[in-house]
Symmetry: C2
Subunit: 309 residues, 2 copies
């Protein structure tokens, strides 16, 4: 699992920070989370292959999280995409998107499979061989959703030497990887723990933006390896944070601490902070394993998880 | 008159080239011409002051010329703009823009004065103390317009020493600057040419994108100091240019030559050209004073005009 930050600004981009967009790479499947203006240019700069993006998640319908989607869809089209695209977004978005594409005479050559987000409870919205995605409500001025990406536990790693040594068949290998013991030709029972090694522990990533602080959030993202939480403001602007449905760096850190997160990555910085170090420092006083989201940087979640241990 | 290129790509941006957007500075009034995705970030990078943009011109309703406008308008709003904004665009655009802003709950604190572009003839659409702007039809897959920005002739420069020497009043100075002769206290007639120096010649800039080649265009932009003409393709792709309503570099150069333009600046380059030198070379064989549009660069039109002479 690797996370690339395409944009870490809040509504007003700066010359250093673009509006919100993240790319999560899980076993070479790319998940685009939010799609602020300029996402396609940032994808190019980061040399991320457009064709590997088959799932896009939109947290809420504020422009700084969506306005890059029109250009990206047009580009998919011009590049000859025919593979369907799954789009997860608040329920009202599909009609808005369709009408806007129609206004600009954009006829997509590929299908959009739209998955409306709704509800007040966490809901699993995606599953493949490797992972699941759960959406959950945030607390913003308008309906907004966070996303939790969880790897499934990997199969156990079989010790290669044992395969030849004991004459294990392909079908038996499959069972052993899932945890079975093995009965040898001579009738001996060999325990799974003598045949396999522990796999890498499954990793997880949660995206929480935009949101005001609320106590219930920590429970939803409990034990996540990497928690992205918006930190639009420092604590001295907490009134503005409250009014606008945003969080301070301290709010983000409190949620990370209550959730026993591995690492906290903060972003969605207000344009007023040219230097974001004070925001990181503020969060670290509450939750030391805090790092800032930096445009164009890729974070290896396995590596971050190892460092924590 | 100075021109800043914010984006020189065609529909598919690259890591080096953003979609179309130009800023023309005429006596510190900024005119934004087209507004592709990422325009506001490019404005920041070029340190151009948002508050000086009061007029936006949209050539046609393809996304790579418009999709930056939503973000830019939102940003104007967040920055507290109250000054009205004049928007010149194809007639159908205002309804599309309004519906899109409505979809995203964007209530602008400033007024948009919409000026629909239409018709088959050049029309003057703007005038201030310093200049005029004329729109004219291009030849593209959909309705598209070019823009001609022309400075008015400046007043004559009065020779300071003469004012004291001859006791010229403020009212008389004003008349002399406009070309009047002067009658001295002793009745002598002093010719204007003995009182003044020639002003800088008025400059002009034309924006022609997107368009296929057509013979009539040269007449509309005759003698322009700087001609921006799209050159999406090289001549070996002229069939594709024709099919898509675009020009080759040679097409752009032919129009520049027929128009007796001062300098030709080509842009709107297809993403297939990582290196645009061949396009510039192709144009120069027909029109030697050709330069490429480069993102983030500013071109001093007075300086270019002086070099030509």
């Amino acid at each position: 699992m690797k996370l690339t930050i395409l944009g870490s600004s809040s509504a007003l981009p700066t010359s250093e920070r673009y509006p919100s967009a993240h790319v999560l790479n899980v076993h070479e499947h790319l998940f685009l989370i939010d799609c602020g203006e300029g996402t396609q240019m940032q994808l190019r700069k980061c040399r991320i292959r457009f064709g590997k993006i088959n799932n896009i998640f939109i947290s809420h319908l504020h422009g700084d999280h969506v306005f890059g989607l029109y250009g990206l869809l047009s580009t998919f089209n011009l590049m000859g995409r025919t593979v369907p695209l799954s789009l997860f977004a608040p329920a009202s978005y599909m009609a808005k998107l369709s009408s806007h594409l129609h206004d600009f005479d954009i006829n997509l050559n590929f299908q959009i499979d739209f998955h409306p987000l709704a509800g007040k409870e966490p809901v699993q919205i995606f599953e493949n061989k490797h992972m699941t995605v759960t959406s959950f409500p945030l607390k913003h001025r308008i309906e907004a959703f966070g996303f939790l990406f969880r790897e499934k536990p990997a199969e156990r790693n079989i010790i290669r030497e044992r395969i030849e040594e004991l004459g294990i068949s392909v079908a038996q290998i499959r069972a052993i990887k899932k945890g079975s013991d093995f009965v040898a030709a001579d009738g001996r029972l060999i325990k799974n723990s003598d045949l396999t090694l522990d796999p890498e522990p499954p990793l997880s990533y949660a995206y929480c933006s935009d949101t005001a602080y609320f106590r219930g959030l920590a429970g939803v993202v409990r034990n996540v390896d990497l928690l992205y939480h918006e930190a639009t403001f420092a604590t001295n602007m907490k009134e503005l944070a409250r009014q606008t449905g945003h969080s301070t760096a301290a709010d983000a850190a409190k949620t990370a601490r209550a959730a026993s997160a591995g690492t906290l990555i903060i972003g969605h910085f207000s344009a007023r902070y040219r230097d974001i170090d004070p925001l990181v420092e503020e969060a670290r006083t509450i939750f030391p394993s805090t790092i800032p989201a930096l445009d164009g940087f890729t974070y290896d979640i396995a590596e971050l998880a190892r460092r924590i241990k």
